[in-house]
C-alpha cells in the first residue's frame, strides 16, 4: 500500500512539473503582453518532433547510433528552435492582436493551433501516425524497495531549476526589470528607453522555450508523441495558469499541482474515476474561479472609481 501511495505521489509530482512548464508560458505571456496564446500547447509539442528529426539527422551523418550526445544535442536544438517558432508566430500573427479585444486573440490563436498541428501532420514524414519517443534517462534508483525512475526525478529537478531560473531572471536581472517594466506599462517603459517590441520577442522566446522543455518531457513521459497531443496539454496548461492567477508564476505552479493532483486523486480513489477525470479537473476549474474570480494568486480585479 505504501509503495502504491508513493507511486501516486510520484505520478502527481511529475505531471504537475510538466504542466507547470507549460502553464508558466501562458502566465508569462499574459502577464507581459496581456495576450492569451491558445496555441502555446501546440507550439510546445513541436519540440519533440524537432528532437526526433534532429536525432535522425545526427545519427545518420556524424554521430553513432544510440549515442546520448545526439539526444542531448537534439533537445538543445529543439528548445532553441521552438523558442524561435514562438517569436515567429508572434511576429506573423499574434502581434497584430496586441490592441484588439482579448477574445479576438483567443480565437485567432485557436485557429493558429490548428495550423501548427496540421503543418506537423502534413510536413513531418508520416505525421498522422504517432511516433515513439525515447526516455531521456532509462535507469532507475531504489529507495528502500521502491524503484524510482531517474527520469521522474530529472523532470522534477529540471522543472524546479527552470522555475528558480525564471524567478532569478525576472527578479534580479536587468532583463527581468525591463520585462516587468513593459508588463506594468509599455508606454512608460518606452520613455525609459526600453523597446517593448524587443521585450515582447524575448518574452515569446522564453515562454516557448520553457514550453518546449515541457513538450519534450510530456512526449518522453508518455513514450509517444502525436501531432495533436498539444491540444490537451495546452488546455490543461492554460487552465492551470488561469486558476493559479494569470501573470503570477507562483500561481502557475500551484494551479498545475492542483490539476495534476485532482486528476491522480480521482483516478486513484473513485471506482469509475478514469472516465470522469476531465469532468473533475474542469469542475475544479469552475469551482476555483467561482470562489476566487481572478485565480488563487491573481491580482484581484480592481474596480477603480
Amino acid at each position: 500500500m505504501d509503495a502504491q501511495l508513493a507511486q501516486y505521489l510520484m505520478n502527481w509530482l511529475v505531471l504537475g512539473s510538466i504542466y507547470t512548464l507549460v502553464a508558466l508560458g501562458f502566465s508569462l505571456l499574459f502577464g507581459v503582453l496581456d495576450v492569451i496564446h491558445f496555441s502555446h500547447g501546440d507550439v510546445s509539442i513541436v519540440a519533440p518532433f524537432v528532437v526526433l528529426a534532429t536525432v535522425q539527422a545526427l545519427i545518420s551523418t556524424v554521430l553513432p547510433a544510440d549515442s546520448i550526445a545526439a539526444l542531448v544535442l537534439a533537445c538543445a536544438v529543439a528548445i532553441v528552435a521552438v523558442g524561435l517558432v514562438g517569436v515567429l508566430l508572434d511576429w506573423l500573427v499574434i502581434r497584430r492582436f496586441r490592441n484588439a479585444p482579448a477574445m479576438m486573440a483567443l480565437v485567432a490563436t485557436v485557429a493558429l493551433g490548428t495550423v501548427v498541428r496540421e503543418l506537423i501532420r502534413t510536413f513531418y514524414p508520416q505525421g498522422s501516425n504517432p511516433k515513439p519517443f525515447p526516455r531521456l534517462i532509462e535507469s532507475s534508483v531504489t529507495f528502500g524497495d521502491l524503484p524510482v525512475p531517474l527520469f521522474s526525478l530529472f523532470v522534477i529537478g529540471v522543472s524546479v531549476l527552470m522555475v528558480a531560473v525564471l524567478f532569478m531572471v525576472m527578479g534580479h536581472t536587468r532583463l527581468g526589470v525591463r520585462i516587468r517594466a513593459v508588463a506594468e506599462d509599455r508606454n512608460i517603459a518606452r520613455l525609459m528607453a526600453i523597446r517593448p517590441d524587443r521585450i515582447f520577442a524575448v518574452t515569446f522566446f522564453i515562454a516557448s522555450a520553457v514550453g518546449a522543455i515541457g513538450g519534450i518531457f510530456f512526449a518522453s513521459y508518455a513514450g509517444v508523441v502525436r501531432f495533436d497531443f498539444g491540444v490537451q496539454l495546452g488546455l490543461i496548461g492554460f487552465s492551470a495558469a488561469v486558476i493559479g492567477g494569470l501573470g503570477s508564476m507562483q500561481g502557475a505552479i500551484l494551479g498545475s499541482l492542483l490539476i495534476a493532483g485532482i486528476d491522480t486523486l480521482v483516478q486513484a480513489t473513485m471506482a469509475d474515476g478514469a472516465s470522469y477525470r476531465l469532468v473533475f479537473s474542469f469542475l475544479l476549474v469552475i469551482l476555483v474561479l467561482v470562489l476566487k474570480p481572478s485565480g488563487i494568486l491573481g491580482k484581484p480585479i480592481m474596480v477603480k472609481v
Binding site: 501516425n129 504517432p130 508518455a222 491540444v231 491522480t264 477525470r277
Partner: protein
C-alpha cells in the same frame, strides 16, 4: 477529374487551376468505357487521420487495379473527409448521393459518423458498405442499403474472452480502454463474455480520448492483483499503455482484439511490446492478403497501411463485383446483390447475414509479439 485519386497531387493542382487540368489526360485513354464513380468517406484529417488515410488508400488501390484490368466501367474514386465529425460526415454523404454518377459508397471509421450518415444513404437508396465503424447499433437497424465488412465487437471479443479464460488461464482481468464508442464497446463486450466464462473483472478504467498518462490507472491495477490486462482501444494508446505498464513494473500479459495488431504498436511500445497478445481473424491469413500488402507497398502511397486498409479494399472489391454483375441502374438490386454475395477477398470469404453484418468465420488465432515481430502463437 482525377483530383481524388491522387490526393496530394490534386492539392497542388488546385493551387494553380492549370495544374488540375493537366492531371486529366490519364482518363482520355479509356474513354470508350462508361464512367462511374464510387464514394469513400473517412477521417482523413484530424486525430484519426491515420486510420482514414490507410483505408482511403485501400479504396483507391482496389479502384486502380480494376481500372488497369478489363473492368467494364471506368471508375473514379471520390474520397471525402468526415473529420470524425457527424455533421461533416452528413455533408459528405449528401455530396455523394447528389452526384448522379456516384453508384455506391464505402465509409466511416467512427460509429457516430456512420450512424449519422446511414439515414441519408437509406433515403437515397445508395448502397453503403461500412469499412471501419464497429458499433453493433449500425447493423441492428438493418437498413437494406447498409452492410458491414468489419467484425462487430461481439464477433472478436467472444472467442478472445474464451481463450483468455481457457487457454491463458486468466482469472482476474483488468480492463483498460478509452471512452469512445470503440473503446467503451470493446470493454463492455469483453466483460460480458469473460464473466460468462466464470472470470472476474478486477477493474474497469475507461479514459477520455487523448489521455497519454495511464500510470494512475496502472498503479491501481497493480494493487488489485489482476493477472492480465485487456486493452480495448487503438494503436497509439495501446503502445503508450504497454510502455507505461512495464515501466511501473506491472509484468502481466496484455491482451486485446486485432485493433492494435499492427507493426506500429511494436514501434511505439519498443521492447515493452514483447509478449503482448491479440486475437486475429484466422480467415485473414491467406495469400490474397499478402498480395495486397505487396501491391500496397509497390504503389508507394505516402502513408503506411493501417489495419483498416484491407477492410476498405475488400469493401471496394465487393462493390466492384456487384456492379459488374448487376449494372448501375437499379440501386435496390445492387443493395440486394451485396447482401447476397459470397466474396473471396483478402478478408477470407465474406457473406452477409440477414442484418447486413459480415459472417466471416469467427475463428481467431492469437498473435504474439516475439523478438519485435508479430508471430502466430499456437492456440
Amino acid at each position: 477529374m482525377t483530383r481524388n485519386n491522387l490526393t496530394r497531387r490534386g492539392v497542388i493542382g488546385a493551387f494553380g487551376v492549370a495544374a488540375a487540368v493537366a492531371l486529366a489526360p490519364s482518363q482520355i485513354l479509356a474513354q470508350d468505357k462508361p464512367k462511374i464513380k464510387l464514394g469513400f468517406i473517412g477521417p482523413v484529417s484530424g486525430g484519426n487521420a491515420m486510420q482514414g488515410l490507410g483505408a482511403q488508400n485501400g479504396f483507391l488501390l482496389a479502384i486502380e487495379q480494376a481500372n488497369a484490368g478489363d473492368y467494364p466501367y471506368q471508375i473514379e474514386g471520390v474520397a471525402l473527409d468526415d473529420a470524425s465529425d457527424p455533421q461533416t460526415g452528413v455533408g459528405a454523404a449528401l455530396k455523394l448521393v447528389n452526384d448522379p454518377e456516384v453508384v455506391a459508397a464505402i465509409g466511416h471509421w467512427n460509429s457516430p459518423v456512420a450512424l449519422a450518415t446511414m439515414p441519408v444513404f437509406n433515403r437515397f437508396q445508395m448502397p453503403l458498405i461500412v469499412w471501419g465503424a464497429i458499433s453493433p447499433k449500425i447493423t441492428e437497424q438493418n437498413l437494406p442499403e447498409v452492410t458491414r465488412v468489419t467484425p462487430t465487437l461481439l464477433t472478436e471479443n467472444k472467442p478472445l474472452a474464451e481463450w483468455a479464460a481457457d487457454v491463458l488461464g486468466a482469472k482476474n482481468v483488468a480492463i483498460v480502454s478509452d471512452t469512445s464508442d470503440y473503446g467503451a464497446g470493446n470493454a463492455g463486450a469483453f466483460e460480458t463474455f469473460f464473466t460468462e466464462k466464470g472470470g472476474a473483472i478486477a477493474s474497469t478504467d475507461l479514459l477520455p480520448v487523448g489521455t497519454t498518462d495511464f500510470r494512475a490507472a496502472l498503479t491501481k491495477i497493480k494493487g488489485s492483483g489482476a493477472d492480465a490486462i485487456y486493452f480495448g482501444g487503438v494503436i497509439t494508446e495501446a503502445g503508450i499503455l504497454r510502455k507505461q505498464q512495464m515501466e511501473i513494473g506491472l509484468d502481466i500479459p496484455m491482451i486485446g482484439i486485432s485493433g492494435f495488431y499492427d507493426p506500429e504498436f511494436i514501434a511505439l511500445a519498443g521492447d515493452a511490446a514483447e509478449g503482448t497478445m491479440v486475437s486475429y481473424p484466422a480467415a485473414q491469413s491467406n495469400p490474397r492478403l499478402d498480395q495486397m500488402h505487396a501491391d500496397y507497398t509497390a504503389r508507394g502511397f505516402a502513408e503506411p497501411e493501417s489495419p483498416y486498409t484491407k477492410y476498405a479494399y475488400d469493401a471496394t472489391g465487393i462493390l466492384l463485383a456487384v456492379i459488374k454483375d448487376v449494372g448501375i441502374d437499379d440501386k435496390v438490386a445492387l443493395a440486394a446483390a451485396i447482401r447476397a454475395i459470397s466474396y473471396d477477398g483478402v478478408l477470407g470469404t465474406t457473406t452477409f447475414d440477414e442484418t447486413g453484418q459480415t459472417q466471416v468465420p469467427v475463428e481467431i488465432e492469437i498473435k504474439v509479439v516475439k523478438d519485435g515481430q508479430w508471430v502466430t502463437k499456437g492456440m
